[in-house]
């Protein structure tokens, strides 16, 4: 197996001084799908922002064997596709085409390559007809798919998702889950959706108070009710 991400003792605090991540060790193998779960405020989003160097405090994160530093940021970001939770943050262009083309253009693709990449990415998420639409008139489910297409168009090796199924209706959720099943890249998915984790991820990590509490196979973690309850991830019985 090939190690694709390695995090070696990562700690991080936001400028206001509170520690958000503490002594994180993590190793991701190629073609794994990992679920990252944990209560609100656990630090999931913060951890994801470290995976492509948006947040960068120490040299603790290695992608494809390289430490993230100033000089290889572009290279890293072409390989790690990060999909943000709110598609309104991810889709900032006047048309869907412009948004999906944004990454490839920045990567210096030629004109024909850009058109190809956009077509291919939109086809993968089943949104071919939306090229000329403007993002603000789309439904949330459509926006989420387009947001995924904006990173697929760069053909990344690692896909990182922050709460991809939040606010979707059940049908929208399942169609997104099926879409994920088709994507061949290595995936790291931060989510509160345990059904998604069960359906997609072989391995699950629980993060709480900025620390990794558990890191095991999904089957083991999801059957350990006590562990889930302790981390605010399961129903509490009403007394």
């Amino acid at each position: 197996m090939e190690e694709i991400i390695r995090i070696n003792n990562l700690s991080f605090s936001y400028p206001d001084g509170r520690k958000v991540l503490e002594n994180i060790f993590l190793s991701v193998q190629r073609n794994e799908t990992i679920g990252l779960i944990g209560p609100n405020g656990a630090g999931k989003s913060t951890l994801l922002l470290h995976l492509n160097g948006i947040l960068r405090t120490s040299a603790a994160v290695q992608v494809l064997g390289k430490e993230i530093n100033k000089n290889n940021l572009r290279w890293i970001r072409a390989r790690v596709g990060l999909v943000f939770q709110n598609p309104d943050d991810q889709l900032f262009s006047p048309t869907v085409f412009d948004d999906v083309a944004f990454g490839p253009i920045n990567m210096g693709y030629s004109r024909t390559e850009v058109f190809q990449a956009v077509k291919h990415a939109l086809k993968e998420v089943g949104m071919e007809e939306f090229e000329q639409r403007s993002p603000h008139h789309l439904s949330l489910g459509e926006k989420k798919r387009i947001a995924i297409a904006t990173v697929l168009s760069m053909n990344p090796e690692i896909l990182v998702f922050d709460e991809p199924t939040s606010n979707l209706d059940p049908r929208g959720r399942w169609s997104l889950i099926r879409l994920f099943q088709k994507l061949s890249a290595t995936k790291v998915i931060a989510t509160h959706d345990l059904e998604l984790v069960q359906a997609l991820c072989q391995r699950t990590i629980i993060l709480n108070h900025g620390q990794i509490v558990a890191d095991d196979t999904t089957t083991k973690i999801l059957s350990d009710m006590q562990l889930l309850k302790n981390n605010g991830l399961a129903f509490e019985e009403i007394p």
Binding site: L82, D89, Q90, F92, S93, P94, F102, F115, H136, V151
Partner: protein
């Protein structure tokens, strides 16, 4: 606010819609420039401009009601500026009023300048409405970029266009939240609430800008803006721009001849 008013006809198709965005932009700019530079007493020129822009508007099959409604939106602001002119301009006195100890005089010259200002503003508005109602918004942004407007400005415009809807939505939600918690109390209290809402909106927008920036650099943005567009100048666009420039020139030449 009626958001559908922001753009509703630019996705349609007509001979005007098919003209290259750059050609239309240049024409509109020239059109407005000509209007601004035409002397106030030159009525025939204004009529000619009016006929030109009305022909273009009907060629684009824009409904008259919609055009009229939109063109009147800015008039109150223009009026606010223009209303004082008749009182300050010197010349033949049309009337004078005594209000308490003030003596207000209105001059014919002043009235003419004011009417002229209103007409200029209205005609320019018609030109802009024609431009924005026949051009897809992002084509217009691309056109500005291709015409070498600084890319940063183009980007700011396109962000504004993209996020104005998001921010209006946010404002609406805040308003609903406020109203459903029974917005009452005295005037001062109401003002304070509105102030807080504006502050919150500002902070949220600021935080959003950070997230949007993170999404941009995640996709390789490095401060350089690069865009791809489908604009191409065809023969019909050249034909359009030449015809209209000739019309504008003719209006001005004829008027020069008539005046001398």
């Amino acid at each position: 606010m009626d958001i559908s008013l922001i753009n509703s006809y630019n996705e349609q198709d007509s001979s005007c819609h098919r003209i290259d965005a750059r050609a239309k932009f240049i024409f509109t700019l020239l059109f407005i420039l000509c209007i601004i530079l035409t002397p106030p007493d030159n009525w025939s020129a204004y009529i000619a401009y009016f006929i030109t822009i009305i022909s273009l508007i009907s060629l684009a099959r824009l409904p008259g009601r919609y055009v009229l409604k939109r063109s009147l939106i800015v008039m109150p602001f223009v009026l606010m500026l223009a209303i004082f002119i008749p009182f300050f301009k010197e010349g033949e006195i049309a009337g004078s009023y005594n209000i308490r100890s003030w003596n207000l005089t209105v001059t014919y010259d002043g009235i003419q300048v004011m009417t002229n200002l209103l007409i200029k503003a209205w005609l320019s508005m018609l030109g802009l409405i024609w431009l924005t109602s026949t051009t897809k918004t992002n084509d217009l942004f691309h056109a500005l970029g291709r015409l070498h407007l600084p890319q940063v400005l183009v980007m700011i415009l396109s962000f504004m266009y993209r996020y104005i809807f998001v921010i209006i939505d946010e404002m609406m939600r805040m308003k609903q939240a406020r109203d459903s918690r029974n917005f009452g109390g005295g005037k001062l209290w109401q003002l304070r609430t509105i102030g807080n809402m504006i502050g919150t909106l500002f902070i949220r927008s600021y935080e959003r800008s950070e997230r949007v920036y993170a999404a941009m650099i995640s996709r390789g943005f490095d401060g350089q803006t690069r865009t791809l567009d489908n604009l191409n100048f065809r023969r019909s666009d050249i034909f359009f721009i030449i015809t209209l420039v000739i019309i504008l020139a003719a209006i001005n030449i004829v008027n020069l001849l008539v005046l001398n």
